[in-house]
Symmetry: C2
Subunit: 350 residues, 2 copies
């Protein structure tokens, strides 16, 4: 299962290359394309020129053993995902990602070829989303792999969509479908257990392509702003779903000073996710509410836009914003009001 | 010796606070002051407006056991240093640091109070250098502490000073003195060994204040650009000294396509550093060339500025740029030509 990089790849020790050598090898082929990138990799800082546009900046940290398990995560996918996760944050502000900086801390358990695989994924994501890789830092760690990604984006002044803009009666909308990335994780962990118990067994991953792709190689919703703009819809608040629907709803409500009501039977869930929920004896809405890593956009729109938003295939209306004193609830399929709790971020919990 | 935070501090487990709680506790008192900070902590990205100015961005990663040893590094100092190190990168481009984002990855060995100490140091550095803390990410790690810092700065278009601007015959200059941070590290490591061998012994740190401060609580040279501007000097290339003078000289020469000659007897070294070099049987110029972490500025100026730069107390002329085919050399006190080698960055070496 440990398919971190292609078989028969030669192994070059990190210690064979110095700082110059490693950075050259990993980033020697990086070209910059964005007009806002004046100077990229190779100096104390990158120089950027956003002209009259505003700058968006976001930072994410991924740690081996917490955010990813290399037993079933190819390093190229990991690099791709690390970049896309931060692009998603920029889209969630209504901006466009333009530059990426990456910090990698790695033990000598990893080879140069392994780092190249990781960078291949980062560079692939940058190419796909038209983002320039402009800098970073590569250092040793005593154990494990840590990836820190900073992404800069730009936006017209006054056009950013914050978490705090929601008002009572506005509609709560979500792009795509939810819960699939979590089911992908459950499938991978199940096959890892099977493999550890019997290393001769081949992992049974076929038929689960959609949920595996959602977990291992997610995409950011760069299309949603265009879809909304074409429909004449301006969201009032927006966030991306990294920690699960429940946690993100609570962020919007807390920062907007509102409550919310979300309907269990409106939450969009893909058929493959539903089928696997059945296999894992899991309630599908729980996967959507607490699973996380879907990188869909969650946003609110004025109630006057109901007909417009209902007509969009890529978007589902799942509930509405309420007054703060009404609290934040899921309305279950059988009509019960269940208080929402943030359970997505439990890395620190025992 | 393990003075990471004040004695009798209550211990709150990280698991007692959720994501909301921890971030509130660490950053609830953060105010933003820079006119370019539109929206700081609390959304998917920070929103910044640099108007017609260009943006500088730099990223650094610090790993426990590689970049710092918590046996003798107070967490507050560590936070302060993590910020200052990145400010130094922005000054080395001729810019001014404006915003900081921090990513912290931490195991449950650390308490909330320990994280507060670390943030106190970060916030202190931000206040001292007029920088806004605008975002970040806090996650769990399976072991150890990782700190990732991104700093944004601004600069007038066309004013950045890159590494690649040096030309033959230009003067090589350095601010302050070199080698002290490395001697500070040697003193701390010696006292740690004494302590580990006999935990009843008190560490003998008195009399070494200067080198300890240079190691534990370095400052970035925010004053140099003003000093140079007042003297009418415009550097042609610049870098900050994080990995040691030799490594930084090689960066400038490689990127400028030049060689260099640096005179051993011109390298500025503080008397306390000299005394300790004697104690540790270390050649002082080796500490300056390979020690690193001085965070002084290394830069080149036209030879026509010799009289002006000689008159500056904060700056020392240590040599000159040569043609590339002459190579990069140290001219020793006894007149030998010794090729420069980058030995600062050896985290990956065995």
């Amino acid at each position: 299962m440990s398919n971190n990089y292609p078989p028969n790849t030669p192994r070059t020790e990190l210690s064979e290359l110095g700082e110059f050598g490693l950075i050259d090898r990993l980033t020697g082929d990086v070209e910059t394309k964005s007009p806002s990138t004046i100077t990229g990799i190779g100096d104390d800082a990158a120089v950027l020129d956003f002209g009259p546009r505003q700058v968006l900046v976001t930072k994410d940290l991924l740690c081996e053993g917490v955010h990813f398990d290399l037993a079933y995560t190819p390093l190229k996918h990991l690099g791709y995902k690390a970049a896309v996760v931060s692009f998603s944050d920029i889209y969630a502000m209504n901006g466009r990602p333009r530059q990426l900086l990456v910090g990698i801390s790695v033990s000598n358990r990893y080879s140069v070829e392994a780092m190249e695989e990781l960078f291949e994924g980062l560079k692939l994501a940058c190419r796909k989303y038209d983002v320039d890789l402009v800098g970073g830092d590569t250092t040793a760690s005593t154990s494990g792999l840590f990836i820190s990604v900073t992404v800069l984006g730009d936006i017209e002044p006054g056009q950013s969509i914050l978490r705090k803009g929601a008002h009572p009666n506005e509609l709560i909308c979500v792009s795509g479908d939810l819960g699939a990335a979590y089911l992908g994780l459950l499938v991978l962990e199940r096959e890892k257990r099977v493999f550890l118990a019997n290393p001769g067994m081949q992992p049974e991953l076929s038929g689960n392509d959609y949920v595996l792709q959602r977990q291992l190689k997610p995409e950011a919703r760069k299309d949603i702003h265009e879809i909304l703009a074409k429909a004449g819809i301006v969201p009032t608040a927006m966030i991306d779903i990294s920690d699960g629907l429940a946690s993100e709803l609570l962020h919007i409500c807390r920062q907007s000073g509102t409550g919310c009501a979300v309907f269990e039977d409106k939450i969009p869930i893909d058929p493959q996710t539903l089928m696997l929920c059945d296999e894992f004896s899991l309630i599908p809405s729980i996967a959507a509410l607490n699973g996380g890593e879907d990188y869909e956009l969650l946003f609110t729109v004025p109630i006057a836009d109901y007909e417009k938003v209902k007509a969009l295939e890529a978007v589902t209306v799942i509930g509405h914003i309420t007054a703060a004193d009404e609290g934040c609830h899921l309305i279950s399929t059988d009509g019960r009001q269940i208080p929402l709790k943030a359970q997505g971020w439990d890395h620190m919990r025992k």
